[in-house]
């Protein structure tokens, strides 16, 4: 491919190739403090390509490919090339990851222990993880937490934090000095702006943590909390995992162990300030 870059996020190495310079330049800028893949050998490849040679220049649209692909994935306009690269990396993880059980959750760490937050899109898992990072927690990732079946530890995947719509202004206020990517308007998920994890998140990204608490945040309701039984946690986490079936027995064993060892709480919240107080209290009690 014409342009390419290498990077490592948590334990996972990527090589991203592109027909255009733009998406690679954006990645190199925002991921400039990230290390290269271990031994120079990436786990996954991402291809950003034009379906026809002339579509490089004429109404350029970015198709997302790689080692693992879904047929008929819709292309993105070149202005959203950074988003295409991020989607390409997520796709490799979602379809190709076989070492770790992939939990669709954000994760933050304190004192070597991990807090996992999972929920539907819009529940606030990225926003809360970013806000906790702003309050001194170590961000482990806003999208995927990697559960190691061999050790039961959580490995981080601190890619760029993907902020959507109202969450963008919230984090711009909370972290005025942080580095942000370009504002991407009109994406399939509305307006997106990427936030670069802080120096500590990047420096410690290879350090796993012991899971301590699982939260199911839910934005837009009066503050409320309830205990979630292991059975329900198990089902909700399998639904939120793209490789649970592929990992088979290893995945089942890892997940049953997780839900039986640590508590889970559903957390309804009306605004982020309330949520942060709730989270700190639940964490101390856990």
């Amino acid at each position: 491919m014409r342009h390419l870059t290498h990077l490592r996020i948590g334990p996972i190495g990527f090589r991203v190739g592109s027909d255009w310079r733009g998406p690679i330049a954006a990645l190199e800028n925002l991921y400039r403090d990230y290390p290269a893949p271990e031994d120079g050998i990436p786990d996954f490849n991402v291809h950003l390509f034009a379906a026809r040679p002339w579509r490089r220049l004429l109404r350029p649209s970015v198709h997302i490919g790689g080692d693992f692909v879904i047929p008929d994935a819709a292309p993105l306009p070149l202005a959203q090339g950074l988003l295409a690269a991020e989607m390409g990396m997520n796709l490799q993880m979602a379809l190709g990851q076989r070492r770790f059980l992939l939990l669709h959750a954000s994760a933050v760490e304190r004192d070597g222990q991990a807090l996992l937050m999972t929920g539907m899109s819009g529940a606030g898992k990225s926003t809360l993880a970013a806000l906790l990072m702003a309050r001194g927690w170590r961000l482990m990732g806003d999208e995927f937490a990697l559960l190691d079946p061999a050790t039961g530890l959580i490995h981080g995947f601190p890619r760029l934090i993907s902020l959507k719509n109202e969450a963008i202004a919230v984090l711009e206020r909370a972290l005025p000095k942080a580095r942000f990517g370009p504002v991407l308007k009109g994406t399939p998920k509305g307006t997106i702006r990427h936030l670069v994890p802080d120096a500590r998140a990047i420096a410690a990204m290879a350090e796993p943590a012991v899971p301590k608490l699982i939260l199911f945040p839910n934005y837009g309701f009066a503050a409320a909390e309830r205990a979630v039984p292991p059975s329900e946690t198990f089902v909700r986490l399998t639904q939120a995992s793209t490789n649970y079936v592929a990992l088979a027995e290893r995945g089942f064993d890892a997940l049953t162990r997780l839900v039986q060892t640590i508590p889970a709480r559903a957390l309804d919240y009306p605004d982020t300030a309330t949520a942060l107080t709730q989270v700190e209290r639940l964490w101390e009690a856990a």
């Binding site: 786990d43 291809h47 076989r98």
Partner: protein, 332 residues
Amino acid sequence: MTDGRILAQALRDPVTIARLEPAGWTALLAIARAEQLIGTLAHRLEGLPMPGAAARILADARASAAQGRTAALWEAEMARRALAPLGMPVILLKGTAYAAAGLAAGTGRSIGDLDILVPRARFDDAEAALLAAGWEWVKPDPYDDRYYRRWMHELPPLIHRERDRMIDVHHTILPLTARITPDADALIADSVALANGLRVLSPEDMLCHAAAHLMADGDLAGGMRNLWDVHCLIEEFGVAGLEKRAAHHGLGSAVARAARHAHDLYGTAIPESWCMWDSRDPLYRRRILARDGWGRPTRKLTRLGFYIRSHAIRMPPAMLARHLFIKWRREA
């Protein structure tokens, strides 16, 4: 220029990976994934000194292949239970057969759909039993359905509604429209029983099938994996009686070509007299190895040529024209 040779070399002579730089490893792993040979490669290279990152990726591939094998054998068992009351021979084909029979070709191999062969006279019974056991049609299109039933060597693909796995039920190993007509009765008569009552083809017929699938059907997609199967089968069973059996099925030239290319890529031991290349072999080689260092397909024209050939050998010209016209009109 990087192409499939880097993968062929690593499979053929694993110690040569000691010379690979990070960029070479990256290309090797990408191409192995694209050719669905990464599990096979992972087993071939197991235990050799290599960079930690490569070792971890290959360990994942071995675990993945092991799980694929468990799932494939379970699927075969499900089909066995569905068909057992009918008392007909059920013959496993391709990947599932290699795994079930414990052959070297099955080590680390990725296995897709379940392929089985049953006698043509019992085809309707087999179909009814599978439908009753939870398999459903994938393509409910009437033209496709009629086309499959009249001209193909298999039922339209069925998928299990709970396990989401496909089964291809064959009554012979090449489409009825192809010029070559293998002897399906002989395939069944000479098949070998496994402990659980399922059957596999005789070693010679496994080779004939692998060669027919690659050289007399299809567009050579997946050629590297197919030739690895051929390589392993010849290494395990030799070639005694193969020429005669291939001639009986009308597959003499397909088997010879497959053996030549396995020898060329993987160093398969074949008789000297089989090694003589014909004028088209270089083109086949070019097609089989057509990947770049990202694992992407290359050599568009060569591919297109083999794609057209795959249709031309599958049916006579007038029929092909009608078939393509109907397909085109439906898509337009």
